[in-house]
């Protein structure tokens, strides 16, 4: 299993993490995972993922970080 690509958007001002994520999605190989770390629920990103054939699951860490795992369906 390849190492997941990680975008740590916790110190970034929206919508920068969204733009970075969309740029990375195109490079995602089948089976590969993109992990995003954010302080909020990235609802615009979910909208983009739903419309473009990507699956995701989010986990809330104890420190309040939202960890989103994204893969190509």
């Amino acid at each position: 299993m390849p190492e997941p690509r990680v975008i740590d958007g916790r110190g970034m001002e929206p919508p920068e993490p969204l733009e970075l994520a969309v740029a990375e999605l195109g490079k995602l190989a089948p089976g590969e995972e993109l992990v995003m770390l954010l302080h909020c629920e990235p609802l615009p990103l979910y909208f983009v993922l739903d419309r473009n054939g990507y699956g995701y699951r989010s986990e809330l860490r104890a420190d309040g970080t939202n960890e989103i795992h994204i893969h190509k369906i």
Binding site: R10, G11, M12, E13, P14, P15, E19, V22, A23, L25, G26, H39, C40, E41, L43, P44, F47, V48, R51, N52
Partner: protein
């Protein structure tokens, strides 16, 4: 719990953009009017020029943007279904534009028929807008403080419009309602609901969501999110009691109620500035600086109000209300509005282009939608114009340069916003052309 953002509900981009692109033009007109009329427009709050400019700013600038933004925001943030947004925008947008032009002309030309036409236009257009908004906000399953405060803001607009229509009809029919209410009492209550119950309440409701999200600040303290909107509502209800015949003359009591409202507004501004000082990122973008400027202006409104109350010889000066008006309208509300427009338009461009092009044709970077240097330059001019307007209240001889500076700032804003809309149109055409080529090959 923050409400969910639902982008499937977003209305077509043309719905908010027609409001956003019209609004600054009336700022240009208001500034030119001040430049043209000169010191006469700043004699007192009752000068026809001052009344015309005020309504060009509050209706044709502020209300335009707020209506456009609400049609977008309520659909996206409250996940509410707005009844036929394109039709509502097509009817409401030209009518409120015309209504404010009629009202401003009525003040300047002192023509009764224009007051009546303005009243009728506002009753129809804002009646429709309020009905659609109220239906959406009452039916939405979304919960949260922002939704609750948005509902209060819509109530604030309803009261403002009802009183405004009564006032314009009164002036139009030249009939005195003094047997029931004095004109001044009606105006006092109309202004309080318009500025406090509608405009400030809307800014507060939106800020609870966007300040922590976009400016990376801690969330607003829960006690503040409960105290300020509810407190403002209570203050406005108590302030409105002056409409009751027996209570109309209780000036000391009214002044205490107003001071509590002003202190609540000042508290909200101070907490917002404190939260912004705790943000996780040091770099300040244009939107943040506009918000900071707006909150400082709100603190200045509160401090000025209390000073004018404490010093009656200053408070009774004919231009004292103009000082407060300049601080509140261009200072607080236009600063927030312009700052938000610089955030909203690039984001809506990006979102709609992404939806159109999918992963095949990625939209341009959001930072490229409006050049940073253009936004910063316009912001400097906006704050310089604000200082000149304040100086013109003190020395009315400065009215013409202040009006020209304000007009130029609004023109530059229009240029920046039109630029963003052109970026959208250019990429939309590119995406469509690429799709047409793909379908024929």
């Amino acid at each position: 719990m923050q409400p969910a953002l639902s982008f499937e509900q977003a209305p077509p981009i043309s719905v908010p953009y027609r409001f956003f692109l019209t609004a600054p033009l009336f700022g240009v007109v208001a500034g030119l009017l001040l430049a043209l009329l000169g010191p006469a427009a700043l004699e007192s709050r009752w000068a026809p020029g001052a009344l015309a400019m005020t309504h060009l700013i509050v209706v044709d600038f502020m209300l335009q943007v707020m209506c456009g933004a609400l049609l977008q925001f309520v659909a996206v943030v409250a996940g509410a279904n707005i009844w036929r947004p394109r039709l509502v925008a097509t009817l409401v947008h030209p009518l409120i534009t015309a209504g404010a032009v009629l009202l401003a002309s009525a003040f300047l030309l002192e023509q009764q028929v224009l007051f009546l036409l303005a009243a009728l236009t506002f009753a129809v257009s804002l009646g429709l807008f309020l009905t659609v908004m109220a239906m959406s906000l009452l039916r939405t399953p979304a919960r949260g403080m922002s939704i609750y405060v948005l509902r209060l803001a819509v109530l604030g607009l309803l009261v403002t419009v009802v009183l405004g229509v009564i006032l314009a009809s009164t002036l139009g029919m030249h009939e005195n309602l003094q047997s029931v209410w004095s004109l001044l009492t009606l105006i006092n209550v109309h202004v309080a609901w318009g500025l406090g119950g509608w405009a400030l309440m809307l800014v507060i409701g939106v800020s609870f969501l966007v300040v922590p999200m976009f400016q990376l600040t801690p969330a607003y303290p829960v006690w503040l999110t409960r105290l300020v909107p509810a407190g403002l509502l209570l203050v406005l209800c108590l302030w409105s009691l002056q409409l009751l015949p027996g209570l109309a003359g209780a000036q000391a009591w009214q002044s205490a109620v107003a001071s509590v409202g002003i202190l609540l507004a000042g508290l909200y501004a101070a907490v917002t500035l404190w939260l912004q000082s705790k943000r996780r990122r040091r770099q300040a973008d244009v939107t943040l600086v506009f918000w900071r400027g707006a909150m400082l202006a709100l603190l200045a409104v509160a401090a000025s109000w209390l000073a004018l109350e404490a010093l009656p010889q200053l408070g009774s000066h004919a231009r004292a209300p103009l000082w407060l008006g300049v601080l509140a309208l261009p200072g607080v509300f236009l600063s927030v509005i312009i700052g938000m427009l610089y955030k909203i338009m690039p984001f809506l461009n990006w979102l709609h282009l992404q939806r159109l092009g999918g992963m095949a044709t990625p939209p341009p970077n959001m930072k490229q939608m409006i050049p940073e240097s253009a936004m910063r330059g316009q912001m400097r001019l906006h704050f310089a114009a604000l200082l000149l307007l304040l100086a013109a209240v003190l020395w009315p001889a400065l009215a013409t340069p202040a009006g020209l500076a304000f007009s130029a700032s609004c023109l530059w804003l229009e240029w920046n916003l039109v630029g963003a809309a052109r970026v959208y149109a250019r990429f939309r055409d590119k995406i469509r052309a690429a799709a047409a080529v793909a379908s024929t090959s």
